[in-house]
Amino acid sequence: MCRLVTLLFLFACLTATTVVAQVEIRAPGQQTINVANAELLPLAGPAQPGIAKELHKVLAVDLDMAGLFRQLDPAAFLDDARRPGLTSTQVDFSQWALLGAEILVKGGYHAQGDHIRVEFRLYDVVHRRLLTGRSYVGTRNDLRLMAHKFADQILLNVTGKEGPFSSRIAYIDNRTGHKELYLMDTDGANVLRLTDHRSIVLNPDFSPSGREIVFTSYRRGNPDLFRKILSTGQEAALSSRNGLNVSARFRPDGRELALTQSASGNPELTLLGTDGSQRRRLTNHWGIDVDPSWSPAGDRLAFVSDRQGNPHIFIMDVLSGQIRRLTGSGKYNATPAWSPDGERIAFTRLEGGNFDIYSIRPDGTDERRLTFGAGNKEHPRWSPDSRFLVYSSDQAGGKGIYVMRADGSGIRRISSGGQCQHPAWSRQR
């Protein structure tokens, strides 16, 4: 009897085990990260508001462009923003948590004449810890670069992938009356003219190292391919064959270039050594084959061809020479650009009298239109982290260089004046 009661009791106990409730949260409540970007404070000597403000402004623009942050209003900052804190023990995290900040940028600077040392710190307010710190040394002219570099570090810490803000953008501008090659920061600052050909310069592309740039120039009357070393300014013709020598793109390993040549009478894709040697012809078709763009592995090329009637994007396996059509829609698709992460190919499509930018997966699926509205949007190129696209547009009157996120959001004009086109984003600075 007792045994039976005990057994029954045990059975009751076992069946009465606590059942833990389960809830599902199907999307984050906030899709931005609250960041407090405090102005840097003088580490020694008198305060120089100009330095702090410039650093703060450049960083704020970069963080805004990234699209994943919500920057808290500095007017709401409490007294910890006025206390220099280069270690996590010196920061009053409770103040920042009160404001809802999740990450915090603090730091200081020390200026001695033209020589400046800038200390940036990125803190995780929730975990109350230092995420990363950088100490930059340079001159006053380097202030913007310091802020850009730290913005890259912030993205690296928050997303695991470094930002592109310290890289540069090359483009063609006719502000002198001639189409010349220029260089600028990703926010449009520090414009620098690279060529003085007094002719027509087109279609630049950076080498993977970022130290060289190739472009087409009509300097000698023929569209020849030139190569320029950025640090020394040295320049040399790379391909001067009769006819076109245009739209050259460095292979990701930096050892070869693909370009369009028309020495045979018909524009075909050709492989060229970095010393200008002809390696091999890639296409041999009566159609026009132009605008090559390498896959990140360097084994495939996206290019434009009218071999099936209208201009469309095709993909070629470089080793086997097999070609397949990528775009099925539209009647005029042009200027493909393969993203550095290999996920998507951006291109332009002429529809309704205007060019707009689209992107598609390399397997031909998931085509998305990225730009809308009046004006042409042309020549898209990817940022080295595949987060952004740079392109030229006449949407606001006069051709300008624009940057947007890969999903088409956050469009902003970065060039000012002139007639700017053919942008190219460097992979490294």
Partner: protein, 297 residues
């Protein structure tokens, strides 16, 4: 032939049967006692559901709706909804456009309005038949007292109707403009941005249960940008334990997503919500699944 008296105990063959019958009775009684709670001590106090009504953070604009998408309200809602004034407005607007028959139209429209009101509001039902006989019965009777009585009764009914209408207006004002205007509440409620119902669609006028509130609270504290992740099929399950005073006792990942950024964002959400703004009075244990099924592009 005489029948022997019934004496089972004296019959040796019936003893085992009696024994087994007794055992069966005892066992059944024990089982009954066990499951009735006699052996398991005093009966447990009934756990009444505890509702947590957050009037500042996550108010329920129109709790009767009980749906986050502002879908059809439950039937009970119609009883609380004020008599719709809409029929009057279009009719008034129609009148000037057709001046040829100005008199009959308003009369017809008021009839329609009255009939509509009776359909939508049960409380108004007796009003329509009450007013019509009153208007027609007055000249029909000659008895002064009976007329006075009827007039008094009519006044009482009218007063009741006015009180009822005032009450409905008040309810409508408190619920932010009624079901029809729940998303565009007019000032008196929680504002147009206030959520309608709760994530699981179980809001009532009493508020929401703790579990649902916690779900919304954790979601509020979870921040993750679409630009931080490359995949949308990430999911992590975390077991949370909160003490009776509302502080986080422990958390551990039952199942992580494998994506460091995603898992870190979940950890941040939990740490941000580590102190509840109320005391739940008892320990809470909860498995929370974080995923991106509803993340918009």
């Amino acid at each position: 032939m005489s029948i022997p008296p019934f004496a089972p105990h004296n019959e040796p063959g019936l003893r085992p049967l009696a024994l087994s019958l007794t055992c069966s009775l005892v066992l059944h009684a024990a089982a009954l006692l066990l499951f009735s709670g006699f052996l398991s001590g005093p009966a447990p106090v009934e756990q009444r559901p505890v509702y947590f009504v957050d009037l500042t953070k996550m108010p329920v604009l129109n709790p009767q709706a009980g749906r986050p998408d502002g879908g059809p309200a439950p039937k009970g809602d119609s009883a609380l909804a004020p008599a719709p004034p809409q029929p009057d407005a279009p009719k008034a607007a129609d009148a000037p456009s057709e001046p040829s028959s100005p008199e009959p139209r308003p009369a017809a429209s008021t009839d329609k309005a009255a009939s509509k009101a009776t359909v939508s509001s049960p409380g108004a039902k007796p009003a329509a038949p009450a007013t019509r006989p009153a208007a027609s019965a007055a000249p029909a009777t000659g008895d002064y007292n009976s007329v006075q009585d009827k007039l008094a009764a009519m006044r009482e009914r009218q007063q009741r109707q006015q009180e009822l209408a005032a009450l409905k207006n008040r309810i409508a004002a408190l619920s932010g403009g009624g079901a029809g205007s729940a998303t565009g509440g007019s000032g008196s409620g929680y504002g147009s941005g206030a959520p309608l119902g709760m994530p699981d669609g179980t809001g009532t006028e009493a508020g929401v249960d703790q579990q649902t509130w916690l779900q919304a609270y954790l979601k509020d504290n979870w921040s993750l940008s679409k630009y931080q992740i490359t995949r949308r099929d990430l999911s992590a399950t975390v077991r949370l334990a909160f003490s009776a005073d509302g502080s986080l006792i422990s958390y551990h990942f039952i199942d992580s997503s494998g994506d460091a950024t995603f898992d870190d964002s979940v950890k941040r959400a939990i740490l941000k919500a580590k102190t509840l703004p109320f005391q739940p009075q008892r320990q809470i244990q909860l498995d929370v699944v974080f995923n991106l099924k509803d993340l918009m592009d």
